[in-house]
Each structure stands twice: as structure tokens, then as C-alpha cells.
Symmetry: C2
Subunit: 433 residues, 2 copies
């Protein structure tokens, strides 16, 4: 049987999973590729680091030139995290004539234009299925399977860490800090979880998907985003009373005046597919104008789900499908964007608002008066009796609005926060209906 | 811009949808294909039939040779239903040098080996995304996106008509006949719904998926199948009491001794994704040994969802991806199967059993005695009080078993049906846990 030599740079969790699939399950890759994918070199920073992964003798080194100078190696799985040296390594691989498969979404979100332009100039390809939603093949589905559609919206649960924490908070009634500690103990959250829980990771993935699905050219830092790190368990309970769950939703939605884009904790109606996504799973609901809604659900991270995506890309690259798709899609090119982001303050939706207010006459009138002046119409209100301990004369007031705008609710909140009857931080969250 | 000429044979519901996408949305197909897909010919049986679809002048005819003799036409959407003349038309197209895209699952399930061998011999390709699950791109996902996996199981709701009827029966408390009539009135069921409701349609789709995912070579008629056409609304209510919904499930599951394959009304636990598939939707849960479970949900039929799949295949064929995949997958070839079906009587699972029994002492002992002799262990029992009208001394006895086999439960049922205390037809359904 013919063979194609491949290499791996970076032997962390995902790299080890890819090595395992190539070494232990060569029969299946060979069946799908029509040739053996032969793991010829594995390059790491520190060859002395202890590793779980068992490699054939002589293929592990810290010398990237063993890959770049070997013309027999055609395709390289680039599984190095972070921005540098990940960026330099990818450029060296492309310049060495290698097609590249990567799982590094941060790198694409930050340096996509440079890397893709370089690959095009050199006649090489970059495949990146593993960069978004781990094992769910959302890149291929948007890029090719749904190509007959104008995609009109995309709602994703794209950060497994956040979803795990939210599930724990809901199921166990924990506060954010306790749920985060549990996620860290179980390996679902990094020691420094900032990018996961503040919405940055989801925004990076959303920027990639919005580029593929809509031709948007938006830097992830320009996507309005709120994380789950300031979420109060009390709001999860009020949401539940109203028939909703809170999910960190990444949304891209095509409207007449542009593309709505945001990442934020959002109330999602219980019983709808996105509300039922539990634990560290990911899910994406894509609506196409021909196909209607298509829903994808699976493991968004983890060694083998991510390795599954990387190896599928390796196969696609070896057999020539990637070269075709890469050339046609012309991603992150100098072409003008097909759509611009909407002014976020004009983005519409329903909102969940919660105020901690003094329990005395006139407060409700003050607050609803401000909402009314901003043109915000109220759909429902929850105001429970104050707890019986007599200590607090502050009670939570929860308001669900009818459809309004980001701008109106933000302005109203600022004004309401200035009222003397309103204590502590008020809460505002989007509602997905 | 370069253009590639394409043609359509058959201008029914799906054909009209494909024409619409090609004619009205040429910009998007051009963007994904890097060239215009130019609709050059549309061939139908009867040119005088009135049609909703507006075509450019001069392209409609009843003359297939206008396609087969035109060397400029490279790819043809074959949207003719049934087996003949669908088969002959496809052979003529292949022999005319055309790559073919089809939505006809019955044709593939029946004549796949002949058609694919012929295509291979002629250096042509057949694409068939639209043949299973309409708008859900399950063929591409199994064939390429999940290619790093050994798929270990596949659970599908593949017949939208059946699922629509089941949803109506459950939501409205209707019996089967009433729900079927409603499905026919709304266009979700054909005048002759036999293939949809007796499990044949789902078995044809399952045969295709099992071939792709497992390398099985099973004729759909050899897949054990039960339809929903004998389903009693009472069992839906008992199932619900037990925490389950009844779904027409198509299952392929890899076990040590072969591939478990069947289509049958199955109790699915409420709250799991498959149980929440409503109305005429389709869904497939695929488990891969690397990726874990991946769940796909969408519209399984209808004009535009199916046209979406056909046009994606047209694009894949025009750009050359299909040729690569078709050659590599070597589907329906003379290669030996990679797996054989398991003996159905050995297939394990939990079962739901319902007996209408006389309401007198000893009956429970008679029935559980038979079950015990067949090695069937009981997980739970529901026996309600007889209804108060005093007319009937016959009461339903519902038993959920622990894990046992098809063979044991079938044999036990036959024996129990022979008991004098058992009235009317007993019911046996699989439980998916």
C-alpha cells in the first residue's frame, strides 16, 4: 500500500491523541485515505518531558528542521497552543512546503489573515476543523455540507468549561466560585480559566464561524462579550422559575443592516435543544435559508474528540479534498467582507433584568417609569416577598422585557442604577426565544 | 466567471427546489464552486404538466438525449423516484459520461451495487447526500468528517412521517388512524403511506448508513423491522408513565459477534435527545470510538431541505471533492463486507411487554412464570385497577424487563399468548437506555 508521511508538532493532550490514532488505528485511516498515513516525525520543545504516549524509536526530537527539510513529509499536524512560537512554527512549516492541520483557534482568530495569505502564496493549505467545537465537525458542515444555503443564524454553546460550570451551578445550587473549583479539580478548567469563563474563547470561535458562514471579517476582541464569571446563582433560580436556563451563547445572526454578533450568558427556554446541552458538551444550531435549522451536539473538547477532528483533516488533506476547499473558500483573504457587524446598541431582543431594591412604596413605579421612558415594555415581573428574617428591607425585582434593544436596556440600567432605591449591581441578560 | 453546465431529470418537489436554488441563488453556488452552475437542461416525463417552477425558455423537454448527447453537461441531478425508469435513467446518464447526484434512497438500497459498479467502470461518480435524512448532511459526516473513528453505533429517527404521526398521537391522545389522516391532510404522509409507516423506508436508509459506517452489505429487506402502523395509543400512555416516549428507531450497533440491525418502535427515555425529536424532524446519534457521541437534528424531508443536500452534492461534484471521496470509499463494490449482521434472536436489550389479562388471582404468577422459564428478569410492573364501569374483567399488565434477548422475549410472548388468561394481541417493544 502506498504511504504518505505525516508529522506532528506538539505532543500535549491532543498531539498524543493524534499519535495514538495514527499509530494504533492505521487500518482505518488507510481505508479512508486509500494509503497509509505514516507518522515519520514528532517534534516537541522538550524531549525529556515524561509522556504517556509511546512512540516508535527515533521519531521524537526537538528539531523542527527534521520536518521542514524532509520533502517526503507532506502534511503536518500543528498542535502547539498559544500565539508564539505557534505562529512562527506554522510559518516555517508552510515555507517548508507542508500542508498544515491545526487545532489552535486563538492563533487563527489572531493571525488568520497572515497565515492564510502565506499559505495561499506558497500553494499550501491550512485545515482547522479541530479549532472550533472539538469533535463536532462544524467547520466542514458550514464550509461544504451546507454550501447551498445562505446561513441566516448560528447559535452556539462553544465553551465546554463554561457550560460545565453552569450545569454544576444549576444542578447543585453552587455559586460560581465553588463550581469553578470543581471544574478545575476535574480537569474541565485550566488553573487560569480567564479566557474560558470571560467569553474570550467563545468569541474567538465565533469569529472563525462568522467568517466561514457569513464572510464577516471581525476580530474577536471586537465582538461584544460577557462571561459567566460574574454570574449569580440567584439569577439561575429566577430564570428557572420563568422556564429558562442560562447558557453562555455565542450568536451570529444576519439582519438587514448587518451581522449581529455577541457572546453572553443568555436565558434559553427549557426544553429547546440548546437548553438541554449539559456538562462540558458543545452544540451549534445553524439555520440555513434552504435547509432550515440543523442542530449539532457533541464533545467540544478532550483528547480523542479533538484528535478525531485533526485526523479527519489529515485524511482530507492527504487525499486532496482540503486543497480544493481551501482554494475555493479563499478564507481570511484580502477580499472585502460580505457583511459588516451591526451596531451592537441596535441589536434587538428580550431581556432579563434584576434589581435589588428597597421594599417600600413607589420603588416599582420609579423603575418601571425609567424603563417606560426608554421605550422598554414589560412582559412579566417577579417580586417575591422579602425573606422573613426581618434583617433586610432589600428585595430582588425581576423583570422580563418585550423585544427592545441593547442600547435602550443599557441606558435604562445606568439610569436605574443611579436611583437611591436600587442597591448593589443590577443584572441584565439577553433572552433567546 | 467560468461555468459548468448541469442538468436536472425529474421536476417534482425536490427537482423544483433544486432548480430554484440554481436559478435564483446562483451567486452562492458560484461562490462555493468557484464557477457558475449553469442549468442547461431539465428533462421530465410530461412537459405539459403544470408546474410551479418557472424555467428559462427552451430548457424543459422530455428528451433525455438532450442531456446524454451534450458533452458540455458534466453533472446531472437525478430526481426521479421509484425503481424504474429511475434505474435505467441513471445508467443512461452514467453511460453518457455524466456524474450523477441522486435523492433516491430506494434505488440505492435496491440497485446500489449495480449502479456503483457501473459508475466505477465508467470513471463516473454518484453522490447521494439527499437520500438519507433530507437536510441533515449525515452521509458526508459519516463518510468523511468522522473518518478517524470506528463508528460503534448509530441510532436514527429516519422517517419523518412516522415521527409526525407519533408526535400527534402523543400530544393529542389520538389513535393511529386519526393521526395518519391528519398527516395525510397536511402533506406529511402520502396517500399510500405503507413504506413510511411499516418501517421499510427507515430500513432502506439504515441499510445505506450501515454500509457507509460499518462496511455492512445488508439488503434492507433483511433488516428486521416493525412499523408504527399497529401501535396502540395506550402503550404511548403507559410508556410515558414509565418515563419514556415511543419513537421509530433505526439502530445499527457494532458488537463482538457482528452488527445489530433493526427498525422498530422503541421506548426512548424522555429528556434524551432522541426522545425530544418532534414532528417530521429526523435525527441521528452517531457514536465514534474517538469522537464519542455526536448528535444531528434537522428536517428530514421537504422541498428545500432536500434540495439543499442535492445542490451541496452538485457543488462537491463540480469542484472535484466527490470524485475523490467516491473513489476512496469504494461503496457497494465487490469487496467482502467488513461486518456481518448478528443473529437477530441474540440481540440483547430491555423490553416493554403489555398483556391484556383477566383480572383474577394467579394470572400474574402464570405470566411471570413463563418469563422466568425463558430467563427473563422483571425490572418493573404496572398493573392499574380495572376501570370502574364493571364491564370488563380484562386489565392491562405492563412489564419492563431487565436486559434479555429478542429470541427469549419472542418465545416467551408466544407461550404467554397461548395462556387462557391472556386476551387479544400482546405487545412487545424494545427499550433504548
Amino acid at each position: 500500500m502506498e504511504k504518505t508521511q505525516v508529522a506532528i508538532v506538539g505532543l500535549g493532550t491532543v498531539g498524543s491523541g493524534v499519535a495514538k490514532l495514527l499509530l494504533d488505528y492505521g487500518d482505518r485511516t488507510a481505508r479512508h485515505a486509500g494509503r497509509a498515513l505514516w507518522l515519520e516525525e514528532v517534534v516537541v520543545r522538550d524531549v525529556n518531558k515524561s509522556r504517556v504516549c509511546e512512540l516508535p524509536a527515533g521519531i521524537l526530537s526537538n528539531d523542527l528542521s527534521r520536518i521542514t527539510r524532509n520533502p517526503e513529509i507532506k502534511v503536518v499536524a500543528h498542535l502547539v497552543g498559544g500565539l508564539e512560537p505557534a505562529r512562527s512554527i506554522m510559518l516555517k512549516l508552510l515555507e517548508g512546503g507542508k500542508d498544515v492541520v491545526t487545532a489552535n483557534k486563538a492563533l487563527l482568530a489572531e493571525h488568520g489573515p497572515e497565515l492564510f495569505d502565506r499559505a495561499r502564496a506558497l500553494g499550501r493549505s491550512i485545515a482547522f476543523e479541530a479549532s472550533v467545537a472539538g469533535g463536532i465537525p462544524i467547520i466542514a458542515n458550514i464550509s461544504t455540507c451546507l454550501s447551498a444555503n445562505q446561513i441566516t443564524s448560528l447559535h452556539g454553546i462553544l465553551n465546554g468549561t463554561s457550560n460545565f460550570i453552569l450545569t454544576q451551578m444549576e444542578d447543585r445550587g453552587w455559586d460560581y466560585a465553588t463550581a469553578l473549583a470543581e471544574a478545575q479539580r476535574l480537569g474541565y478548567a485550566e488553573a487560569d480559566p480567564a479566557m474560558d469563563v470571560d467569553g474570550s474563547d467563545a468569541a474567538q470561535k465565533l469569529a472563525i464561524l462568522a467568517h466561514l458562514a457569513f464572510g464577516a471579517r471581525v476580530h474577536w476582541r471586537d465582538i461584544p462579550r460577557v462571561g459567566i464569571d460574574t454570574l449569580d446563582g440567584a439569577d439561575m433560580r429566577y430564570a428557572k422559575e420563568l422556564g429558562y436556563r442560562i447558557k453562555l451563547l455565542a450568536v451570529a445572526k444576519l439582519e438587514r443592516d448587518g451581522l449581529e454578533l455577541h457572546v453572553s450568558p443568555t436565558l434559553v427556554r427549557i426544553g429547546t435543544p440548546l437548553a438541554e446541552v449539559r456538562s462540558a458538551n458543545n452544540a451549534i444550531r445553524v439555520v440555513g435559508d434552504a435547509v432550515g435549522p440543523v442542530f449539532f451536539h457533541g464533545l467540544g473538547a478532550g483528547q480523542m474528540p479533538t484528535a478525531s477532528a485533526v485526523v479527519a483533516d489529515l485524511i482530507d488533506t492527504v487525499v486532496g479534498r482540503t486543497a480544493i476547499t481551501f482554494k475555493l473558500l479563499n478564507l481570511w483573504s484580502q477580499q472585502p467582507p460580505r457583511v459588516h457587524p451591526r451596531d451592537y446598541s441596535q441589536v434587538t431582543g428580550r431581556f432579563y433584568l434584576r434589581f435589588d431594591v428597597e421594599d417600600r412604596p413607589g420603588v416599582m413605579a420609579d423603575i418601571t417609569g425609567v424603563l417606560g421612558r426608554h421605550g422598554i415594555s414589560i412582559a412579566s415581573v417577579i417580586q417575591n416577598e422579602p425573606s422573613g428574617d426581618g434583617a433586610a428591607s432589600v428585595v430582588p425585582l425581576v423583570i422580563m422585557t418585550h423585544t427592545t434593544t441593547e442600547g435602550a436596556t443599557r441606558a435604562a440600567m445606568e439610569e436605574i442604577n443611579g436611583l437611591v432605591c436600587v442597591h448593589s449591581r443590577s443584572v441584565r441578560m439577553r433572552v433567546d426565544d
